[in-house]
Amino acid sequence: MVLLCVELRGSGSASAAPICVHGQAGCHFLSLADLFDRVIQHSARMHSISSDLHSEFEQYVLPSRNHIGRINRHCHTATILTPNGKENAQRLAREELTEVILKLLVAWKDPLWQFHQNMVHQDDFNNFSSNKALEMSYMVHELRKGVEKVADKMQHLGMISNTLSGLSSPEALDPSSDTCGESQAMSDHDLLYCFRRDSNKVQNYLKILKCRIVPENGC
């Protein structure tokens, strides 16, 4: 996903001023709706990959492991408060919703990378699954950047306040320090299960956000 005319000035900047805002010559102007559409498509693809990986795991790997009981399944992202219903999601402000999305995406970057590394050394998954895991971790990273750009644009357009600027701070969005131990305790199955759910959350939140902000088409 490429936002052609939006420049990201480092990770610490409050907001990245886009190069072309008003459709200058030679610059392809992307509207917010277009950005949302791209982000939503990206998240949909991410979710589908995670679903495939989870079903493969349950089909081929789990029986061999004799995995018993999933009672205490803990996703490391459980600490992130996410709305569990439509009303709850609609009750959240745009900024909060965007923040939740970003938190989720940030939280999953490292675990997915770890998961991929583990898969390479293990024989549980075939190469196809290994590639999917790698693609998944990459997509999380790209999706996060895309959502950040959308947030920047929204802030630029004045749709959301600038309270979101604190999101890009490493301390706030780095749950790995908090959940570092928990993420490592997760099993592969739990990881896949959790990520499948969280990717669905991300996709859904983005759709809600889009239909709330730019409800032109598809809403």
């Binding site: 399944r73 996410t82 569990n84 219903g85 239909c211 598809g218 809403c219």
Partner: protein
Amino acid sequence: MMWRDVGVTLILSLILPVVAQGARHTPPGKPKLTSCRSPDKETFTCWWEAGSDGGRPTTYSLFYHKENSETVYECPDYHTAGANSCFFNKNETSIWVNYNITVVATNALGNNFSDPVDVDVVYIVQPHTPENVTVGVLEDEDGPFLRVSWEPPRKADTRSGWITLIYELRVKLEEAEEWEEHRAGQQKMFNNFSLHSGGVYMVQVRCKPDHGFWSEWSTASYVKVPDYIPRERSMWILIAVFSAFIFLILTWIITLNRSSVKHCLLPPVPGPKIKGFDQQLLKKGKPEEVFNSLVVQSFPPRSTDYEDLLVEYLEVYVNEKQELMPEGKDLRDVGCLESKSQSDNDSGRGSCDSHTLLMEKCGGVESKDESSYEEPELLQGQAGSWERLERGDSQVVDTPDSSDARVKTWPLVFSPSIHGSSDNHHYGTLEMPKQHSTSEITYSVPDHLFPTSTSFPHHHHPEYRDSLGEYSEYRHSRSPSTGVLYHWEAQHHPQAHSNFNIRNLERQKEATGFGLPPSRSMEYVEVQKVNQNQLVLKPLSSHGRGPSQVQFGRAVVDYSKVNGVNNDNVLLLQRQREMAEAGQYCDYREKEGAEAERYPTQQQGKTTKDGPVATQLQESTCLTTSGYVDTVPTMPTF
């Protein structure tokens, strides 16, 4: 014994049902959760099926607990969704939360738990069927098409983006078997083309969330497509009419040109036609007459026509007194040698108005049988009217003047040696070749008159050389108004049979050894008729000679010695006097006997390539004749 067994059996059969009745009451069988569904991702319902009853009234209850929580909750609503169901309303439904649901069947004797089921509401969404499915037939330039539109189910909230639905519809004719399915994506409208006019179509729509189950098909909507003729047919009708019109026009045109078309397509077969064949005669039944017409007159060639095929020579000389050229061309300064032309039956004598070209009209060469023989005067500009007629069918030209005579032109071969006429000398063409075996002279006698005046320069002595191997034709053309039908072509035709070399001795002044009998005068003779062996000549002037017949075989001929040809159209005849002046001439008199003539060396020197040979010939010819241009007959006698 047998009585005792029967009695035991009877007692047992009576006791057992009583005992068994007490055993019917058992704990209920194990219930089973069949499915849980959520229509809107906000509420969901679970259904179970009961196990065996156990003989007692059994109650079912559903218990659940959420993930990572030990709190067990019971189903809040058992009735909304019907029997053996549990409905979870919005307050109790959490998305992205794992529900662990268990159903318990309880009766008086005990209870039974079902297997637990994990349910995440997100993945059990099955919406209702789309609503407000409307189908219509619309017109387009391509034809009619079906437009189907619908709305999402009421409960599914697609407007806020909570649920994203994709749709699918299927169409079929009412009587058809198979459905035609189409994916419509997220749009709520669909166009179906390629319809059968006059049919009734059924349309159904269903939907599905992006992660979930397909809804049920909506109730079928019927639509009738009206009958109409497609535009393509009208186009075909137009084409048919147009082509019929063109066909009619073509037929009309062909009918107008019936005959020519028929002639073109079916060319008439030519019937056999025999020239001269009269079919009527054949029908009359006279075959002799019929076949007589088939006889070709000219075939086979008759013996009388053989002479036509042969080349003959005819030497004609004229009496000197006769006027040679009626036109009265001035005798040039060379002088016109008058030569008597004595009328005798010599061949070659007579007035020569002939095509045979000859030299100038000069004094004729008298050839007599007598010994006295005058050499013909060599005239320039006037040629003696001797002619060698080479009869051949090859060159037959009608003179413009002669109407009754058929004069033939012969290729002229001039013998450079002009022999003096001598009556002893038979210049019959028959003899000449014997004497001059190597020499042949053929003359071509075109039909033109011999231009005397313009032909020869005056001061030149025509000298003809008897040379071997070369044949010259000298052509003279002159207006045919005069009676001179003398024309000879001056061309160089090296022919094998001609051995005389007639060169253009334009400036030759030496008198050749040949001399013409001075007394001879040349005259032109018009050939009137050519019979077998006879050349009927027509007298040129009115000296009353009348047509003299020149016959072959007559010996003495007066010849003018041809000195040369000037300008290719002037035949220079040598005058005797000049010869006399030159001092060298070959005079041959029979009476005097053969004298060895001396041939001018100059002449010899002037001969062309065949000099030495010519010299010899000159000598030989001089011996025999004096200064005559010989025409060696090439054809044998007949």
